[in-house]
């Protein structure tokens, strides 16, 4: 019986909450989808969205300039930094006339470094070390000769025409 009551209470809270959210979000495109269109990261929507849909998010700062008739307060809002696995995401949303007029990415996972990261993940880990002079007491020495230099020069000139 106790569980039943708690269940109903929870349901009630959810209904009230969802009504509240709907009331807060008229007409305009939800910023979540806007952000999702702009980054490959799902984390963006939770931490990088403009404050109105996420007003309780900690670390968000805002500077409000004026209050208009829209549901959002005019001004620009900086979201908190979100970890998008391949890098951080942080956006600044600008509200004008109660609508989102701009979303600027202050931080985002650089697509180049992301692909580099993936590339390196796909390759096996290879040991590295600083080179250090050893005893020169060896039978034979292996080193580059002019052959490879010529090869490089050839490649270079070939590519200069490509």
């Amino acid at each position: 019986m106790k569980k039943y009551i708690i269940g109903i209470m929870l349901l009630g809270v959810l209904v009230v909450y969802s009504l509240g959210i709907r009331h807060q979000q008229p007409k305009i495109t939800p910023p979540t989808s806007l952000a999702a269109n702009n980054t490959p990261s799902s984390t963006t929507s939770s931490s990088g969205t403009p404050p109105p849909t996420n007003s309780s998010s900690t670390g968000a700062t805002s500077s409000t300039s004026q209050n208009s008739g829209g549901s959002y307060k005019d001004g620009s809002y900086t979201g908190s930094v979100g970890d998008a696995y391949y890098g951080n995401v942080q956006v600044r949303a600008t509200i004008s006339g109660g609508k989102i007029t701009d979303v600027t990415f202050l931080q985002y996972p650089n697509t180049h470094s992301t692909s580099v990261y993936i590339n390196q993940q796909a390759m096996p880990y290879l040991q590295q070390e600083a080179i250090k002079a050893q005893s020169a007491n060896v039978n034979i020495i292996s080193g580059a000769t002019y052959t490879s230099q010529a090869f490089i020069q050839s490649l270079s000139s070939a590519l200069s025409q490509a």
């Binding site: 290879l126 050893q134 005893s135 020495i141 000769t145 052959t147 050839s154 490649l155 270079s156």
Partner: protein
């Protein structure tokens, strides 16, 4: 080929073995040197019909084609309508010379041509042959000592500074990022051709060596950092 060639045979005093080996290298040079006006390769580049190419030349050029296929086009002997198989011929010639010595009952020897090496058996102290990798920043220094038995070692590199060469497949990677790439292979033919191709791949070359069966590699980048393939340590003596 215009390069120093060293042959040391520890278990056979027959000097004809040495003489014949050098004679073979001379023949190879006469046939494949693009610097010689009378070499077969020069005649081919001047339009000698295919029907007149030697069987050996055809075989070497087939090997070049196969290597191009195996290296995603990085190994390419064609340039401005001329062909120059020297990137493969050196390793191939050392390997051929080594096989001839083996047929004549040499078991402990090495052949080195221009820094590329094939060893067999042990040295005069009955220890594995020691091969030093030259410091690409200082020709007088050895930065790694290897024990090489019955295998080939080849190093590709460039000592020319200030170049800006880019791989066609990776425009963001300058080839000068890599100072030298040493490859140990089942024989010097394998080591040499793949060292040449992998060097052209820039920093990805060491990964090509890693995933190619039978090869291990040691890459030195322009910051003096060496990258070793997983099995390279097996050859390291010091």
């Amino acid at each position: 080929m215009g390069m120093p060639i060293t042959v040391e045979i520890v278990d056979n005093n027959d000097t004809r073995l040495l003489a014949d080996t050098f004679k073979f290298f001379q023949e190879v040079d006469n046939r494949y040197s693009t610097y010689k006006t009378n070499s077969e390769i020069t005649h081919i580049n001047n339009g000698l019909p295919k029907s007149k190419w030697s069987a050996e030349m055809r075989q070497v050029l087939r090997l070049c084609d196969a290597t191009k296929q195996q290296t995603d086009g990085y190994f390419d002997i064609e340039h401005e309508g001329k062909i120059d198989p020297s990137g493969l011929v050196k390793g191939w010639a050392i390997w051929e010379a080594a096989k001839r010595l083996r047929k004549r009952d040499s078991r402990n020897f090495y052949i080195e041509a221009g820094g590329d090496i094939q060893t067999y058996g042990n040295n005069a102290e009955r220890q594995p042959w020691t091969v030093g990798i030259r410091n690409p920043f200082n020709r007088d220094e050895i930065i790694k000592v290897l024990h090489i038995k019955n295998k080939g070692v080849a190093t590709s590199g460039t000592y020319i500074r200030g170049q800006h060469i880019y791989s066609p497949h990776q425009p963001n990677t300058s080839l000068t990022d890599v100072q030298s790439l040493t490859v140990v292979g089942q024989n010097i033919y394998e080591a040499d051709r793949f060292a040449t191709a992998a060097f052209a791949m820039g920093k990805d070359g060491i990964h090509f060596v890693e995933r190619t069966e039978g090869l291990e590699g040691y890459m030195v980048d322009n910051k003096g950092t060496a990258t070793l393939t997983t099995g390279f340590g097996e050859y390291v003596y010091a």
